[in-house]
Assembly symmetry: C2
Homo-oligomer: 152 residues x 2
Amino acid sequence: MAKQGQVNDLPLTGFRTVEDVLIGLRERGGRVTPARRLLLTALFRNHAHRSAEELAGEVQAQAPDVNISTIYRNLDELVGLGVVDRTHIGGGPATYHLSSSTHGHLVCEQCGTMTEVPHELFGELGATIRERYGFAIDPHRFAVIGRCAACR
Amino acid sequence: MAKQGQVNDLPLTGFRTVEDVLIGLRERGGRVTPARRLLLTALFRNHAHRSAEELAGEVQAQAPDVNISTIYRNLDELVGLGVVDRTHIGGGPATYHLSSSTHGHLVCEQCGTMTEVPHELFGELGATIRERYGFAIDPHRFAVIGRCAACR
DNA sequence: TTAAATGCAAAGAATTTGCATAACA
DNA sequence: TGTTATGCAAATTCTTTGCATTTAA
């Protein structure tokens, strides 16, 4: 059984709206609460990377009583469901944003297999490279050469 | 003037041994202390990514009185000097390791220019990809396609 | 001698957890 | 009604900082 406050964490895919996610959540045994709806609304409002504290601020603008621990618990849940991506930057707080479906590729130099991986994986790298070298990664032509699990 | 406990932080390059770094440090107005020598010795012993706490443990095996705050202060200094790289993984503690000179490439899809960038930039990405997909990036064939500063 | 480095303790920031209460389904 | 979710406070983990003391040069 899942521990308290955590729904079945199989990936939740194909969502497009706040209500989509909430419905998926309910189908998995979770509950639709005001805090969850407000958090998702904040996340859907824009795709910027925001800290738990920033998201809490946005939620609290509507519902001042929502505690930051509730934000953390719900973010953990959404990360587990694949709805949200978490990124740890520098020494600062983790940032969260809706996971996107764009992707990069892992190309095996041995068998040529191409594995799609979520574009988010490269997000931080892309930002760093742009900053330091003025080099813009082409997200649609992003490929990494190496050896796949099968060939190793 | 640099604040207390911090030497001139221009990059310190071309070091190969613990003593190299210590000499460079002294030339910049820093001092050679037992704690620094032990920390560098630990870092040079292997290139694994280790947390401040793990490094403190190795130093304390020789000199039990060295405090973790001294480890943190010296690591900060070495990072500033370019001798050590710091990586923030997951939610856990930062990890440190000697900076290496190996590199990857940024290939411009327009002019074909190839820019070398320190391999460390890809370190975290490589670890993540290996973990999640079992895919091993070839560090010598790591190339990223995009558009260079000049062509943008 | 004197500025830099250290030890120690305390503060800080980010996140997690325990538990009683509230509220979805 | 029976869990699940929440609020609140306290605990944890990692890191930084203030200050008196020590020490390298």
